[in-house]
């Protein structure tokens, strides 16, 4: 009993710290007056992010429950090959920021865009594109948030022994409260702390595994004794064939250029210097967390063999190898990853509802129809209510949302990849192309997944992206070109 309480102590202290930072952040924020000023602060932090915070918040959106639990769990079963696969994510931070970072910064200031959908509106001048984008964001993000909540609560249950519900209550409410109170600024500030927490947690558990196994050489020798293929890039029974690893590369190493969670962050940083620093720090930290956590999984097999379910590998190792206090510190790591993934999505869903849909279509973009006081109450309320809805859903997960989540990551890429990149790089791109590719991309991704149609051994994302690109180009040539004058802000 005492042990379990000892585990909770660091966790509760940590959550207290996070809440404190969020409240402090929202107090420090310059008080924005006016409806648009408030929205720019609440949904975008008034474009004030520095390099370290930008790096951490980008990382936080990539590293979720799966980086701490699912991924290492697979590495436990398949060995070093799965670490190879995870390491393809190393350059993603600098790829995303390097390719779209400065372009987004310029465009978003010229066109005064606050949300990612604003960006699409500025580029395609189409209500249909914006509504489609907002709906995709709301549905896919709510499904992903739900999955993150479930993952976190299960992890909490398996490590501490307290119930699923109490875990959900502790960290679920924490993330909802600080996001609701502090908006985007609280999201990115807490992400920075959460990122540091993830690093500390991964070092703690890796150190424990290497020490318990008697050093790296010893551990590799034990793994070889279990199955030499655990040391190979392709894994036991060729479990990680090349077409698979390359599909995974497309999914997490390339198509993430279109992921709205990260593009939204590219709207909100301060200056070039912040971006440069974020590229360097982001790359270093993504690689570090991926490498250490997956090594924990793969090497853990030599230290605590015989764990049947992959998802239980990391929780079991934590309980076996760490003292209750350190286990409490460790569990804060994956919970940090989860909370920092959820908070970004929560604020974006709220922005989609309040700014992109309500303010634009119901209040007709007129600040008089939505005075500052009202927009403030409404934004806070919407953020809170969406959070609570997801929280309640996680108590008794609805099958449909859990199912949608399986396709959320790839689905978002399928929907947004072409409109984002062609929008930046191809002047002929227009709303016809965007609408066709968004609808087709979403449909095709679900179809390839459900029918399990595989082309040359690849997974659904590869043929989907290839086809949406074709659809986008064809659609754009069928439609009318956007007028040169409107494209002026996209002079890149």
């Amino acid at each position: 009993m005492l042990d379990r309480a000892g585990m909770l102590l660091p966790l509760v202290l940590y959550l207290g710290l996070i809440m404190g930072i969020a409240v402090w952040g929202s107090k420090v924020a310059q008080k924005e007056s006016g409806t648009k000023g408030f929205m720019e602060e609440y949904f975008l932090g008034s474009r004030s992010m520095g390099g370290f915070v930008l790096a951490m918040t980008i990382i936080a959106t990539y590293t979720s429950a799966s980086s701490f639990i699912g991924g290492p769990g697979v590495a436990y079963n398949l060995g070093l090959g799965w670490i190879l696969l995870s390491m393809i994510q190393v350059p993603t931070a600098f790829l995303t920021l390097g390719v779209i970072g400065k372009r987004f910064a310029l465009v978003s200031r010229r066109a005064n865009t606050v949300t990612f959908s604003d960006f699409l509106r500025a580029r395609y001048k189409s209500d249909f594109v914006v509504v489609l984008a907002s709906l995709a964001i709301i549905v896919f993000f709510m499904a992903s948030m739900l999955a993150q909540f479930i993952g976190g609560a299960r992890l909490f249950e398996s490590i501490t022994g307290y119930s699923y519900q109490s875990g959900l209550l502790i960290f679920g409410l924490a993330v909802i409260i600080y996001t609701t109170i502090g908006g985007f600024r609280a999201v990115v500030l807490t992400d920075a702390v959460q990122g540091v927490m993830m690093i500390i947690a991964s070092i703690a558990i890796l150190g424990a595994v290497v020490a318990a196994g008697g050093g790296v050489a010893n551990i590799m020798e034990s793994l070889r004794a279990v199955d030499p293929a655990l040391l190979s890039p392709q894994g036991p029974n060729n479990a990680i064939p090349k077409p698979f690893i390359l599909s995974f590369w497309v999914l997490v190493g390339f198509a993430i250029l279109g992921l709205p969670q990260t593009t939204q962050k590219a709207l909100g940083y301060r200056d070039s210097k912040s971006l440069h620093n974020a590229m360097i720090i982001g790359t270093f930290v993504v690689g570090f967390t991926m490498l250490t956590m997956h090594l924990v999984g793969a090497m853990g097999r030599a230290v605590v063999p015989g764990i049947k379910i992959g998802d239980l590998a990391v929780p079991t190792l934590t309980i076996e190898l760490l003292s209750p206090f350190w286990a409490g510190i460790f569990i804060a790591g994956p919970l940090a990853a989860i909370m920092s993934t959820v908070d970004s999505m929560l604020i974006m869903v709220s922005a989609a509802i309040v700014k992109d849909l309500y303010f634009h279509y119901v209040a007709k973009n007129k600040a008089e129809l939505l005075p500052p006081r009202k927009v403030k109450i409404m934004s806070t309320l919407v953020t809170g209510v969406v959070g609570i809805l997801v929280f309640l859903a996680a108590l008794k997960p609805p099958a449909l949302l859990v199912w949608i989540n399986l396709f959320a990551f790839g689905g978002l890429e399928a929907v947004f990849f072409c409109p984002t990149l062609f929008g930046l790089f191809w002047r002929r791109a227009n709303s016809t192309g965007a609408i066709c590719s968004m609808l087709f991309g979403c449909g095709a991704f679900f179809w390839f997944n459900i029918t399990k149609t595989s082309i040359a051994g690849t997974t659904a994302i590869v043929p989907t992206l290839a086809l949406t690109t074709i659809v986008f180009v064809l659609g754009s040539y069928f439609g009318k070109p956007e007028s040169e004058e409107k494209l002026r802000v996209f002079d890149l």
């Binding site: 600098f94 790829l95 690689g287 002079d491």
Partner: protein, 95 residues
Amino acid sequence: MQGGLLLTRREKIKAINKETCVVLLLYAIFFAWWYLTAYGLGGGDPAEYKFVFGFPAWFFYSCIVGYIGISLLLWIVIKLFFKDIPFDEEEENDA
């Protein structure tokens, strides 16, 4: 107007395009290194692997050296080639 201090729209775009090319090149280098060392050194029979610091050589070079290498390379490249582009004050000296 501070004349020479501010970049014109055209100059900014040129700098951004150059930086994008550098980023894509770095990405290609990382990908090639990651792929070639992993399957080049690790493609054979695991019984014949060489080990470096306890790790199989392919893993050490692909996942550890590749990761640290790209982090350092990126740092150098950004310090050398990346321009401090102002995002705000552009309309005043726009042609």
